[in-house]
Point group: C2
Chain length 222, copies 2
Amino acid sequence: MNETSNEAKAPSQRTVIRRYSWLAKYDRDTINSILDTALVCQIAYVVDGQPFVTPTNFWRIDNYVHWHGSAASRMLRAQEKGIPVCFSVTHMDGIVIARSAFNHNINFRSVMAFGEAQVLGEQEKRAALKGFVDKLMLGLWEHARQPTEKEWSATKVIRLALDEVSAKVRTGPPIDDDEDYALDSWAGVIPLRTITEEVQPDPRLRAGIETPAFVTNFRWKG
Amino acid sequence: MNETSNEAKAPSQRTVIRRYSWLAKYDRDTINSILDTALVCQIAYVVDGQPFVTPTNFWRIDNYVHWHGSAASRMLRAQEKGIPVCFSVTHMDGIVIARSAFNHNINFRSVMAFGEAQVLGEQEKRAALKGFVDKLMLGLWEHARQPTEKEWSATKVIRLALDEVSAKVRTGPPIDDDEDYALDSWAGVIPLRTITEEVQPDPRLRAGIETPAFVTNFRWKG
């Protein structure tokens, strides 16, 4: 992957770059499946002309992506004013080794969205956070102590409508120049995958507390 | 991880947020190890007031991170003017399940850097790209057909000095409120790891070409 393959485009400035035009996929099922198998997004925004990009957890509900944070956060305070943001998610799926150095590539799935973020009101916020925790692991919300009023008030949730949104996906073997297929070089893909490793109970866990099934059964779906 | 734990800060505006102040680690060894085990970064920049964030491959040489792309790329054309960028890398290492919903967290390692990107000259560019390919897999540069002059001229390399740079790391079990340790709730960490799966030779690979050892032996180090 280089930036040609995943070019940032302003909503009104989408231009097709020939070499990678086949990467652009705009159907909603593709977009949703990329979003729903990711836990971390990147939010870019501008304060006083300075760009910032912040990795943060996010989750999708219908046509919106959501992220949360401290009410004291500089990022959220900036974003609650409705400033433009650029939202991005990337899965890296493999290293693509071609017959020529120029054609090495990365298999990936990515989504990019543009818009103005909105702060959720109190009731929407509570429903959205419960939805996030249970989307991560069904049963996790009921498992833990519920937030106190003080904890609720320390948390904000921001959402962005998925109106200006696009996905790009690269899969499969390398694409070499025609004449390079005659070379003696090996070519292929080294797939990458994120896995769940053995659960590590808290060393301070009280005796006799079993690991719940929703934890034992959890598998990363990215 | 929420944005409190990984707050974007302008170079001159670093403030400590009490709850996560222990996350900030600025030593260079920590920063380099996070960078050197990552393949994808996020570059944020601003064009006409609109923020963009682009995922792209990167690599570190000494005190610089580098990324490459098409000479026709909108991102690179913007960045070669020396506009401010925000560079970010994130590894997600685990899901941290606490005894209270408010204290769920993510184990992660991240780096953020600010500065103005510079376009490399022709000879520096060629050395940097060779360095990138061999950093990814030692032997890969010599393996493939070398770039033609036309291919070289279609490629640019941008670099950013790691002068305004910081790292944040969260590891270990959940940190619950004192009184919550008496609850009956399970707590612990589900570690996540990116692995290399079985190599997939190109279906168009010519008969008799063996997979080279530097491919067979490759293991993801993220």
